[in-house]
Symmetry: C2
Subunit: 271 residues, 2 copies
């Protein structure tokens, strides 16, 4: 399906776009099922928070309208929205109030092996660490060189994802996923106030778990805590949940809480 | 003058470009004087180092050839080169060995007030800190949201540049400049192994100072050291050198070593 730029079919952006020049923008990767964007409100909520923190000017109602229209035309697949701060000739200075450029791109449904969800995956222990920047932490912004470097650390098919720590050695997330630990029936996921991407599926799972009466904690996580977990899983808004079987010398098995949450997420994503 | 993409006149890049998607690339901003790119070898050297560290595949001879041809046509102005990792459908994974996309953009000579160089400038004390990421430190990569946020902290014309510290409070650089201190006739500039951009003019000045027998040190710099400096100046490869008169409550005056180096740089830039 053709991409849209500011509501019009287009395949390119101007060379002056600040997304290209500085990674000055945000993105969302949204699962689309039967013409509907899944977890749309959560995606828009994160986008709104990002626009506020980066002082990007957008018409949220217009974005919602375009996402719904594009998803309806896409049917089933993945919708990527990029917002950039539009054009700039030279220099970092911004033009306050100038409307952000809206880019919508569609692609077919993701084609991860079914076994990732049913059997589980291994994580590559990435040497690339996440730098700590509270001003950008949590946002899905366009400055993603750390993820590019981390993902380039392994090429084998034995690792479906990578584990990323921060500069202080705390366990943060996957390269394109958030990470959850289960211990004594409770859920634990990393505090993302210094680095990391606050995933939409992570937010949904935290909310669902709370509603189910499962104790959930958002806090710093050490490698020792990871090692001692009863269950570990990764999640994102496209593939849902993958149980984690191992990472380097550590190993776990897919347990009951992971399977329970997988059931919920599968219903959500229609997979 | 028309921009070039991979050697052909063009004004756009595909939406799938990884520079847009992830800031996955590098750039150089090069002064052009009488058809010649100034400090070309140093720009190419930094670019080469960046390509090596980001595993970007480029034909250095081809880039040099294009830069020389573009500069000759531009005459006087500023040439911006962006290298991106080309196109990508979805995901952070790279296609090793795929040639980088080469983007050349020309613009007229910079129009900073002449007084910035002759009288000096004030620096805005930016609250935005530089995060520490040794894997990216020193490179002029496309992940520049920290600079965008820092530059957005002031709008008044009283501040020509901003001062950026790292997360630990060390004095690092300007938003679009490097910073030098003079103390007892010696030069000091920040160690950029954790964060910051290793500017081409900074490298040239370090080399020139050494040739002149001026003791130069690259090390961590505290705010106290900055405050106690005899002279302070900022530099980049487009405007050359600006003496720094103050930053917040701190003040300095343009001194003899700053003026001496300004003379060298002016000859180099032909200004």
């Amino acid at each position: 399906m053709h991409s849209w730029v500011d509501g019009q079919p287009a395949d390119t952006v101007p060379l002056k776009d600040r997304g290209l020049a500085y990674g000055d923008g945000l993105f969302e990767t949204i699962a689309v099922k039967a013409g509907q964007p899944v977890l749309l409100d959560r995606h828009l909520q994160r986008l709104d928070e990002g626009c506020r923190r980066l002082a990007l000017t957008v018409d949220q109602a217009l974005i919602r309208h375009e996402l719904l229209a594009y998803a309806a035309a896409l049917g089933d697949g993945v919708l990527k929205l990029i917002l950039t701060r539009g054009d700039s000739l030279r220099g970092y200075g911004i033009n306050p109030g100038a409307p952000a450029r809206r880019i919508l791109q569609g692609s077919p449904p993701a084609t991860y092996p079914e076994a990732h969800g049913s059997s589980g995956v291994r994580l590559f222990p990435c040497a690339t660490r996440l730098s700590e920047q509270p001003l950008l932490a949590g946002l899905k912004h366009l400055n993603r060189l750390e993820q590019v470097l981390a993902r380039a650390e392994w090429q084998d098919a034995d690792h479906a994802e990578g584990l990323m720590l921060d500069m202080s050695g705390r366990v943060i997330e996957g390269v394109f996923s958030n990470l959850f630990l289960v211990r004594d029936g409770q859920l634990l996921t990393a505090d993302l106030s210094r680095c990391g991407v606050a995933g939409v599926m992570r937010a949904e799972l935290l909310s669902r778990a709370e509603a189910l009466g499962i104790v959930t904690t958002v806090a710093d996580i050490s490698l020792a805590q990871l090692q001692q977990a009863d269950e570990v899983f990764v999640c994102n808004s496209v593939y849902g949940i993958w149980p984690v079987l191992g990472c380097g010398p550590m190993s776990w098995s897919a347990g009951p809480l992971t399977r329970k949450l997988q059931g919920i997420v599968r219903a959500l994503l229609g997979v």
